[in-house]
């Protein structure tokens, strides 16, 4: 297994290099001149030249790219052009709020969706199944923004059940601010996930080994949990793994509407202010997470399905 992981890690290097190259070219060739942002209102060419020299922006592109690769290898992404703070510190500050929003939502959405999917699968083609799927489709059809705006207005403003907007550094208080955006995230994800898991589970229910288990007299609970759910774990794991990188990057819309200082909002802010070091670090972080979750996904396949061998 370790040889497999090592091989996959080595295989991920060209992908990450490709991402760094594309990001670098996009930013440095068409992304504008960050010196203009830094220099303020009434800069001269001399002021701009001094700033470019200060940040190494006057070096040839190849040399700048090499510097960027060095930063990538050492995980030292330099300092933000905007705030002059080390980029690593910025990421550390922002990753916590993002995860505290997305992780509980992912766990709750997955568990709820699987549970509802199991019920729907168990009652497939019957009124309950149709009702649940109609609800899921309706939920999917409503825009994310509508959930946010209406949720904020009805639940936080009219009913005063939640905080409207904000964040707190202490966990006790933070929960008050995170409750509503987490609920919104769960509701938004539930429709898609329920439909997906239901179709996976229905397919599994139709397999011979399930028919055999029923024929042998296994009860419905045992059939659904031991024979259906267990054998449907591969698509479930895949779906969860795909979501993992987004736990870190957060949700741009939710962070923006609820004032959660996560990485999604940070990425947008960095793009608006041509803060290249922050954009590069975040893009790299996302690509590394994708590579790692893909590997983890494969490893988990072998864990949940003994027939899969990591070769």
């Amino acid at each position: 297994m370790w040889a497999f992981i090592l091989r996959r890690l080595l295989g991920g290097i060209p992908i990450i290099l490709g991402v760094t190259l594309i990001t670098f070219l996009l930013l440095n060739v068409v992304g504008g001149d960050p010196a203009l942002q830094m220099a303020g209102k009434n800069a001269t060419e001399e002021d701009l030249a001094a700033l470019r020299a200060e940040y190494g922006l006057d070096k040839p592109l190849v040399s700048q790219y090499v510097d960027y690769l060095k930063q990538t290898v050492t995980f030292d992404f330099g300092k933000s052009y905007k705030t002059k703070e080390p980029v690593v510190d910025i990421l550390k500050q922002r990753v916590g709020p993002s995860i505290s929003l997305t992780l509980p939502a992912l766990i709750a959405t997955t568990l709820l969706a699987i549970a509802i999917g199991l019920i729907a699968a168990a009652f497939r083609q019957r009124a309950l199944d149709r009702g649940l799927m109609a609800l899921a489709v309706t939920g999917m059809s409503i825009s994310f923004l509508v959930y946010i705006v209406v949720g904020q207005y009805l639940l936080a403003f009219q009913l005063r059940a939640f905080q409207i907007h904000g964040y707190a550094s202490g966990w006790g208080e933070r929960w008050q601010y995170l409750s509503l955006p987490i609920i919104v995230l769960i509701v938004v994800g539930l429709g898609y996930d329920t439909r997906f898991y239901r179709s996976v589970l229905v397919e599994e229910i139709g397999r011979d080994h399930v028919t055999t288990a029923v024929a042998k007299g296994a009860g419905p609970t045992r059939v659904l949990t031991r024979h259906v759910l267990r054998n449907a774990l591969i698509p479930i794991v895949t779906r969860v793994m795909i979501s993992l990188p987004f736990l870190v990057t957060g949700s741009l819309l939710l962070e923006s509407f609820f004032g959660i200082p996560g990485l999604g909002a940070q990425l947008l802010e960095a793009i608006e202010s041509a803060d290249f070091p922050v954009i590069r670090a975040l893009t790299l972080l996302i690509s590394v997470l994708f590579v790692l979750t893909t590997i983890l996904n494969d490893v988990l396949y072998a864990v949940v399905d003994p027939r899969v061998r990591l070769e």
Partner: protein
Amino acid sequence: MRSWSLLVWVALALLCVNGCKSPPKWEQGKRYFHFSARAKVGTFDPVRNSSTYDNLAQAQVYETLFEYEYLVRPFELKPLLLAKMPEVSEDSLHYKFELKHGVLFQDDPCFPEDKGKRPAGVGREVVAQDVIWSLMRMADRANSPTGWWLYRDRIKGFDAFKERMDKRASNAPFEWNTKIEGLKVSGRYSFEIQLTRPYPQLLNVLAMGTTAVVPRECAEHYGDQFAAHPVGTGAFKLDEWVRGSFLKFSKNPKYREEFYPTKASPELEQRGLLAAAGKRIPFLDGVVIHVFEQDQPMWLKFRVGDLDATQTPAEYTELVFNTDKSMRATFVQEGVGYYHLPLLDFIYRGFNMEDPVFGGMQPGATKAQTERARKVRQAISLALDTRELNHAFYNDNNVLYDGPIPPGLAGHKREGSPYRGPNLERAKQLLIEAGYPEGKGLPVLTLDTNRGGNSDEQGEMVTRQLAKIGVKMEVRQSSFPELQDKMRRKKSQFFGLAWGADYPDAENFLQLFYGPNKTPGSNKFNYDNPKYNELFEKARVLPPSPERDALYAELRDIIIEDCVAIGSMARTRDYVWNKRVHNFNPSEVWDNWFKYLDVDPL
């Protein structure tokens, strides 16, 4: 049904974790003022501040040499860290300043022990050397200063010093001990500034947040983290800053004895703003600035009382105000206060004057080409209907005016320009005179705008308006960095931008058209008119006077005649505040007025 509803309420109560609406413990019984910021605060380092909200946050902690009278309009400077107004030499080149005695920096671990006098961590007294050091920080490129242009070519020896520092090796230290001819410490509390030419705006500049006084040892102690560790002399100190979410300040216990103003302009006195006259400030225990990216949560938070004061977002204007701008009865009954604050804004659409067709000031342009392009611009100005734009996109809230000087400043012209549209007949006539009847032969004009907001829709409207005289236009949207880059490379033909006042003097707007300020400087129009330049050089060294006002008016009229920038507008900010707030008189020209506010305790 009942059990379902009960279940929902139990779930909500659990998520709410015992009472979402009770104020947090740190606020109970205290006077904390909650205010909104409409964008993120980026830095607490004064030399690097680059936005209104950087200023707003910094001004609670740091202080400048001057501030403005809180209750006097038009704006009137008064000493803040200074003991009195400076002595100025007859030739207006030499200023002598005297600091207040006994002004202390806030306590902070960055202060080392001063043996026998002061233990470590205790803020020391502000002295003249601090002012000079703070100004010198502007010349250190390592600080990425945004306000160097305010000093460039003005203080004796300062430019040469900066040039030498810019060229130093990357590992060479900044030369703090260099004596700069124009910046001289003459005593513990006194210092002098020697100018290269009269600079009547100097005192306004010394009221800008970017010139705030900082302790050098703290800037060095915190290094790159100084931007997050402000140590000032202001009425408040920063307790907590969660980036992109909120900033919490508490009262600075070492703030010196300062008092609420006793003089006010009649209209402000009539609003009852002198009720606290002569009382010691600050009244508040603290301030919380909440950062919002979206309007809905900002407005809802104000309505539930979690915000004490805010701007009214444009989409809520009709809900709050009648058509005559008075407040609707429901809000009046709740005791909500309001004030329509006119901003010193110049929102415009401008031409790149080096564009051969629409500018006609490109190198080597003939007089005929220049004249022809001017007629085209005049025609475009006459086709533009800013009233329609104001109505559709700003709820008629913006002030329309002519030329580049916003209302409230000497030289402002509300109306009367011969090129204020819409006047389609005259516009068509001018196009005929320029040799483009009904726009025939005129290339498609490209309007560059910053992506976001309703700039796309505004572009559509302008396109439609210009089409009425046969001028074809396309809109090109870019991110702000891309737009800036286009400007620098002079690749933009026609662009929509805005300029907010750095200080309340028309010179700050007229310099946008001064030839030597051409891009990458603030003259994005690349306008270079020798007559204008000569008049501007005369005006900028004059103190406020009828002579200067006349020159400002002449400069304004040149810009109106040449139609360099058209469709001038200034925003009006509709501030509202809840019943518990007292003494609220907002300003966006300066920001350290929170020290005058009061709220009823929670």
